[in-house]
Every structure is written in structure tokens, then in C-alpha cells.
């Protein structure tokens, strides 16, 4: 841990010195705060002899809460609506890219944040520890190879993975070949934290005491009509030298004709000997029509330092399709559907009937009323094991210039659960706005009211509402006078 802290400190100092001498940089600084409430349940118990029989014949507490009693135990359990917890998370994030450090091809990337929950009733996920380095590395890129050292996130079919270490990539540009290898100390999945962090185990689950050694290889071949990739990654527990995981994956994108493409790939878990997630889709995309028809298989993945894999989670297989049509210059319609079926769980459940298939459908449209006004309407319906949901959403946006926009939106949601008597009905309506205050400063805020009704056939039913608020400032500083960057993902709202 001391070594890690020293490395991070050294990196920070190097960056501070580098910023002063770098000829080129881009720095994005953002700060925001939110006010959010949530409400759950509290468990309680009652002596068996205090339980009464309700009007419909079920067992209840005298105050009307449905109870569950286990034969032989002197008490019964029940759940009552929990307290409303207010959370006020605030965060400041800085993302810096520097180049021109005196060595052509040398570049430095740093991305980190400071966060805290200013409320006292709850802890917002991700604010502990208060300072987190998402990425921080130095990169040297020559035409045929690239070397990286520091904290890096690699992405691919094997998932997004963070590690502290090094990565070396070689390229044979004339042949479209690229091979990359990396090795380092792995961070916990989905976080910027080492496995030894207490923040990963709010319920004191077992995790390795040291970060595993991760090593991986990534190869790709690209051409105008095809892209092929292959990945391999293994994690080894430093304390025991046992494997944490060992997987391999392959992906392919074929574009035989201009508008047609075939995208697919699969993961194989070498450690368990089981196939993991896979997918294949045929796509047709033109500026006016987009059609996708595909198959996918989802299989959970667990590292070997947990016992969850021994419980044999089963995958599901799904077919899906989507269609988007630019009907007129102003109107776009889209629809998507998916149907899935779990593979046999090989588990007897004679007393209960559990769903083993589900579907997801959604549809909607966007109408560009004028250059400044846009309306959007959508519907989604989801049904499957454990839970379902359905609802409408709509919005009207006024954006007369690229400098500011305001959107009013609303949605309705009905969300029944399968294993628990609980149907949540939520009505949401709010506004969000963003203003480009200066060329490099964007300010955004949102305010929304949530009316929630937890419907149950006993006293645990409740209604409550809340107003959520958020404000955010994004500032971009750059050594070069350039156009604003295009959005990485076009359907994301600006700022909020």
C-alpha cells in the first residue's frame, strides 16, 4: 500500500511539473452536487402468539403487516417501510491530457475525482474513499509501438478492467495488425480500488488480501471490410498463486457490403471450462434505416476467490431485433424487442413457479418540430424472472442555439416484483437545462419530482414523494483553439 501511495504521489508530482512545461494539454474540470432521497424497508419480528389472521386469511401483525413464520421458531418476521434517507453527494472531477513534453510521442493522461456525501443519513455509492484515481499513466507512442505505464483501464469483450502496471502495444500498420500485452496489479472489478479496500465489502464478504497479478494479451486485425480481435486475460492471487480467473474471447466485425455488417463474438472461461457470454448480430444501417437482428447469450462471470461460481449460475439465450426509420426529415421512429429463455437450472422447485423466460420491448419516436423544438415519446415494457416494468416517457426540448437548451420531461413507471408483494408505481416530471456560459464553460441543472406508490395488500404499502436536484459545471481548458469535441455518445443529454 505504501508503494502504491508513493507511486501515486510521484505521478502527481510529475504531472504537476509536466503541466508547467507541456506544450499541449486539454483539461476538463467538472463539479456537481445532487440532492437525492431513497426509501427501503426495515425488518422486524413479532412473537408467534401475537400474530393474528387477517381478513383474507393470511397471517398479520395486529397493525396489519403480513408476517412470515418459520415452523419451530418462536417469532415471525415482517418488513415495514423504512426511513426516508437523504443523500447529498458532491463531486469534483479533473481529466487531463498532456503532450508536447519535450519528447515527441509522449503523452500523459490523468483522470481522478474527489467526492463526498454532504448528507448525514446515507452514504452515496462511490464517495468512499473520498479521492480516487480513475486513470493516470504516461504513454509513449511511436509509429510501430506504444508503451504505457501507470494506472490504466482496458476494455474489451472480457470486460472493463483496471490495473496498475504497464502495457506494450506493437503495430504492423501495413498489415492492419496490432498486438498488445499488459501486466500489473489488478483492481477490483468495476472500481478504482484494490481488493484490500474495505469499501468493497460493506457486508464483510471475503476478498483477497492483496491485489491479484493480472496479465493479458490483446490482438487485432483490421481491414476496410473486417475487424478481428482476440483477447486473453488471467488473474493470479499473489498470496496463494492460484488462479482468480482465466478467460479468452474473440470478436469479429465483417462489412461485406456498404450498409451491411455482421458483428459477433464469444467468451470462453478456461478456468471453469464453460462458455461465457456471446452474441452475433446482422446489421443494416443507412442514414434513413437501421435494422438489427441478432442473438445473444448472457452468462454470469465470477472470479475464483468467491464461491459463487460453485452455485452454477445458468445463462440465458436471447434473440433480438431493432428497427429505426427516418420516416421524414423531421420524424424518426424506432422499435426494439428481445425475447430470452434461461437454460435449465436443474433445480427442483415443486412448491413455487419461477419464471424462466422473459422479454423486453421498447418503441418510440422523435419529432423535430422546428430547428429549436424537439419532442420525444417512448414506451418500454420488460417482463422476466424476478421483476418486470413498463412505462411511458416523453420530453419536449427547446434549444434555439447550440448555447443553451431546456427540456421538460415526464415518465410513468410500473414495476412489479416476482418474489415479493411489491408493485412500485412512479410518476416523474421535471426540467433540465444547460447553458454554455462561455466558450469553455457549460452549466447544467436538473430538478425533478418523483411520486412513488408502493402498492401491497398489507400495511407495508406506502406512498411518498421527493424532489431531486442536481447542478453541474463543466469547464474545458485547452492549449489549442479547437472546435468542441463531438459527443462520444450522441443520445446522451448534454451535461445532465
Amino acid at each position: 500500500m505504501r508503494l502504491r501511495a508513493a507511486a501515486l504521489t510521484g505521478l502527481a508530482l510529475a504531472l504537476a511539473a509536466g503541466t508547467a512545461s507541456a506544450q499541449g494539454y486539454q483539461l476538463r474540470v467538472s463539479g456537481g452536487i445532487q440532492a437525492v432521497s431513497f426509501r427501503g424497508y426495515s425488518a422486524d419480528s413479532i412473537r408467534v402468539d401475537s400474530v393474528v389472521t387477517g381478513p383474507n386469511g393470511s397471517l398479520e401483525t395486529p397493525s396489519g403487516y403480513a408476517v412470515a413464520c418459520t415452523s419451530g421458531l418462536p417469532y415471525c418476521n415482517y418488513w415495514v417501510p423504512g426511513p426516508i434517507r437523504h443523500s447529498t453527494p458532491g463531486m469534483a472531477q479533473a481529466a487531463l491530457t498532456m503532450w508536447g513534453l519535450g519528447v515527441p510521442g509522449l503523452r500523459v493522461q490523468v483522470n481522478g475525482y474527489a467526492a463526498s456525501d454532504f448528507g448525514s443519513e446515507a452514504t452515496w455509492p462511490g464517495v468512499n474513499p473520498n479521492y480516487q484515481l480513475i486513470e493516470g499513466y504516461a504513454e509513449y507512442a511511436a509509429p510501430a509501438w506504444t508503451a504505457i505505464a501507470g494506472r490504466k483501464i482496458v476494455t474489451g469483450r472480457l470486460g472493463t478492467y483496471s490495473f496498475d502496471g504497464g502495457q506494450l502495444t506493437g503495430r504492423l500498420a501495413s498489415a492492419g495488425l496490432s498486438v498488445s500485452g499488459y501486466v500489473g496489479a489488478g483492481l477490483a472489478i468495476g472500481t478504482n480500488l484494490p481488493y484490500s479496500s474495505e469499501d468493497l465489502t460493506p457486508q464483510e464478504e471475503y476478498l483477497p488480501s492483496q491485489s491479484p497479478i493480472v496479465a493479458g494479451v490483446y490482438g487485432s486485425w483490421i481491414s476496410p471490410h473486417a475487424e478481428l480481435t482476440a483477447e486473453y486475460r488471467r488473474e493470479v492471487d499473489q498470496t496463494t498463486d492460484y488462479f482468480g480467473s482465466e478467460r479468452v474471447a474473440g470478436s469479429a466485425t465483417l462489412r461485406p457490403f456498404g450498409a451491411w455488417s455482421l458483428v459477433g463474438g464469444a467468451v470462453y472461461d478456461i478456468a471453469s471450462g464453460l462458455w461465457g457470454s456471446a452474441d452475433a448480430a446482422l446489421r443494416f444501417a443507412t442514414p434513413k434505416v437501421g435494422v438489427v437482428a441478432g442473438y445473444r447469450r448472457y452468462a454470469p462471470f465470477y472470479e475464483l476467490w468467491t464461491v459463487w461460481g460453485a452455485f452454477s449460475p445458468v445463462p440465458y439465450n436471447a434473440i433480438y431485433g431493432s428497427l429505426s426509420v427516418q420516416v421524414t426529415k423531421r420524424l424518426q421512429l424506432r422499435v426494439r424487442g428481445e425475447s430470452y429463455q434461461f437454460e435449465s437450472a436443474d433445480a427442483e422447485t415443486p412448491l413455487v413457479s419461477i419464471e424462466d423466460a422473459g422479454h423486453r420491448v421498447s418503441g418510440g419516436g422523435t419529432y423535430q418540430i422546428s430547428n429549436a423544438w424537439q419532442a420525444q415519446l417512448g414506451y418500454q415494457n420488460e417482463f422476466g424472472p424476478g421483476a418486470a416494468s413498463s412505462g411511458w416517457d416523453g420530453s419536449v426540448t427547446f434549444a434555439p442555439t447550440g448555447k443553451y437548451s431546456i427540456m421538460a420531461y415526464g415518465s410513468s413507471l410500473s414495476r412489479p416484483l416476482e418474489y415479493r408483494w411489491d408493485q412500485s408505481v412512479v410518476m416523474l416530471y421535471g426540467v433540465q437545462a444547460s447553458v454554455v456560459a462561455r466558450e469553455n464553460v457549460t452549466v447544467a441543472f436538473t430538478m425533478a419530482r418523483y411520486d412513488e406508490n408502493r402498492e401491497r395488500p398489507d400495511a407495508a404499502s406506502f406512498e411518498w414523494d421527493q424532489v431531486r436536484f442536481g447542478a453541474k459545471v463543466i469547464m474545458t481548458f485547452s492549449s489549442a483553439d479547437r472546435l468542441p469535441l463531438p459527443k462520444a455518445i450522441s443520445n446522451r443529454p448534454a451535461g445532465y
Binding site: Q26, F38, Y41, A43, N77, W79, M91, Q93, G105, Y113, T123, G126, I134, A141, A173, S178, A188, L193, P202, Q203, E205, E227, S251, A252, T253, G258, S272, A285, G290, L304, V307, A310, F311, Y316, S324, Q332, A345, A347, L351, V352, I354, G358, E382, P385, G386, A387, S389, D393, R415, L417, R420, S424, T446, R482, L483, L485, A488, S490, P493, G495
Partner: protein, 479 residues
Amino acid sequence: MRRILPPLTLVLLLAAVPAWAQQPDRFDHVEHAKVFPSCTACHAGAVDPAAALLPSGLGCVNCHDGTVERRVYWRAPEPEANNLRFTHDEHRRRVASGAGADSTLACQACHIPTGSAWMTVEPAVLPQCLTCHGVQTVHLAAPDTACATCHLPLVEATALSTTDVKAFPVPPSHEAADFMTGGGHGNLANAGTGPTTYLVAPSCATCHAQEFCITCHVNAPETPTIQALARDPRSLAIPVKLEEPASHTQTGFQVTHGKEARKSTAACQTCHTQESCVACHIAPPKPVTTLYASGPDRGAGAQVERSRPASHQADFSAIHAPVATSNQQSCQGCHVRPQCLDCHRVTPDRTPQYHPQTFLERHPAAAYARETNCSDCHNPGSFCQTCHVQSGLGSPQRALQAGYHDAFPGFLLNHGQAARQSLESCTSCHVERDCLTCHSALYGRGFNPHGPGFDAERLKGKNPQMCTVCHGRGIPTAK
């Protein structure tokens, strides 16, 4: 209007009559064919450099005295501006030195088409000029060195105005499909054919000067062919537009252009400055440094504007993974790293980005049967459990307490199918020891949790520590 037209017409006529009256009469050679047996009688300058090439017109009154013939008004026209190297005296001397002093080359050899009648003269019969000079093509298709035989380079043709330059005819070579590519006009300009080696083809210099080339060429200062041309701003009168090569319009060029650029930056240098690249590239890749920065005497080159690649359609975010992972350098051309991490590494700033506004409310349905892989971005412990524990859904100390899954009274004894289908959802509230209460071989009730596809030997080989959690040191073998 009717009242205005008649007087207006009268005024215009009165104004035009004096001007018309001053127009000199035309001289028609053919009409005078029987009058003039010799050319040099009027055009003495053709043989005597000291004499005028055109007559004064005073001799016309010998016939046109108003009695024998009507009186005429004729005067020698102003010589037209041209870029000819030719003078009659020089030409005559050269003919004499080449063909012999007794050469009988007469005026009609150049000025009367072969086979035509006497006095059917033209300023110059081009095919006959070309034939004499050994040129086998039509005028504008003549070899590059042939141009300089008769024509001055543009920079020396000082009599030409910009209008004259703009009116230059276009040679057929310029209409070729590949003329604008490096292999087209570049090769022609470099072709120093003929008896003398030229730095730039004289045919180019006849009509063009450096300024014309600099209109497009970023690499003009480094290109000897262009530097061999003199400077003359009149060359800008010929319109030229930098055109996109066919390769640049092919599908996927935005993605693959880096590969081409690395192979040959020289090709890029012709039309692109470094500014072309940094219009999109945030941190320029190395090939960019081999391009020239914009500056004086250097063409502005192609003006690049950042635009969405054709592949980036509305649903591209859903399928970008294979492309992004196989060719990250291409992505980095336009995107900075933080943009990727906005979605791939969540922060406490959970404003709607990847997920829509109401996703928190509807996430149970999406999470139970993994609409996407939640744990690719969210840590089950620090993310899911942190919230669920605070919402009263934490499981420690309550593993066998019935009640939460109250839709099925016997759920605890019949949860196997639900657990295997949605184990990731179970683990967002439950921890391992909850399940080991019953499923451990050591201290539980010994319920076997292993299901379809469980390969005990393989897993034991990879990590036996996992087995010891339930089996202790006595891990059973399949045999």
C-alpha cells in the same frame, strides 16, 4: 413609359452616331487580292526591322480618293497583347541560319493555309507552324518543350493582363481523369523531356507561376518543380480548386487514413498542413509531426472540418466495442479518454448518462435478468450492496429469516431455480456465508449447490482454495 421611350431612343442614336463615324474601316485582304502582288509592300517590317510591320493607311487614298473609290478611314490596329517569343526578323534570321541563306521561305508559308488562294491570310496558320517545327500534334497537345519555341513564360509575357491569362485555353492533358493527382500534373511538370533538362516543364511555365501552385500545394517550398517557377500574381487569374481525391471519399477512410498516412506522409504533405490533423486529433499522433505547419509561401491546403464518421449512427454506442477495442488510435483521433470513462468507469456523479432518467427506479427488472452486464461497470459490493444495505436489504444475521420474498411462502426451500437464474441479483443483498449456512459440506446442512456444467476437477486445479471454503482440506474428487 411610352412618353419616355421616343426621346430616349433619339438621345441614344445621337450619341452613337459620332462614335460610329469614328470607327476605322476594315481591310479585307481577299478583296484586294488583285491589287497587291507583294506582302512586304505594306508589311515592310517583316523584312526590315527598322520599318513598321503594318502600313500607316496613308496609301489607301491612292485609290480611295472619293472619286475612283469611296473614301475610307483606316488606321493600323493596336498590336494585341500576346506571349509570343516570335519576331519576324529573328525568325527570318534563324530560318536563314538553319535552312541556308538561300532559303525561299516566304510569308505565305506561315500566313496562308496550304492550298488557299493568294491573300487569304491569317495571323498565323498554327498547323503550318507546328509542321515546320516538327510537332506532330494539335497545338495545345504539343510536347512541353515545344511551347517555349514560340511562347514566353508567363512571367516574361508582361503585356498580358489578368483577363488575358484567365482566358488561356485549357490543354487536353488537363482534362484527364487523373490529372489532379500526383501522378498526373506532377509527372508532367517534372518531365524535363527534350534536348534540355528542365526543372519544370516549360509548358507549365507558359501559363503558370508559383502563386498558382501554392493555391493548393502545402509543400510548395520543398518542391523543386514549383520553386523552379517564377513568381507572378497574374497566375492566380486561372481558377483552381483543391479537390478531394477519390480515396478520401471511400467508406471508412476516416478510420483507415492513419494507416495510409503512416505509410507515406509525403502524399499527405502535398495538401495537408499540421492544422488539418489537429482540427480533429486532440493529441496529434506522430505522423502529424512530419507534416508542415502552415506558413508564408505555403498553400493553406485542405481545410478539414471534424464530422461524424459514417459508422457512427444513432445506435453506434451499442456496437462500438469491437471497433473501439481493435483500433483505439482511430478513436483517439477525435475522442479524449475521459469521454470513454464517462460511461466505462462510473463516478458518484450518477447523472443520466449511459442509463436513462428513470433507470434507478426500473433497475430491478433490468438487473434480475441482466439486460447488460452490470458488473462490467459496477462493483457488486461497493455499488449494489452499499445501497441495498442502507435500504434495509442487507442480509447478514438474517439469512434464514423468512419474509422478504413473501410472494412465495416457500421461497426459501424452493429458491434454487431463481438463484441459478439470477445469482448476480442475489449477491447484491446476500453474501457467501448466507448461502453456506445450508450449502457448506463442513458446517452447513450439506445441500449440494453444484449444478449444470460444474467441473470440479478443473476448478480444483485452478484454485482449490475455493473448494476448501465448503469442503475444508478434504476436497472430494470426482473419482
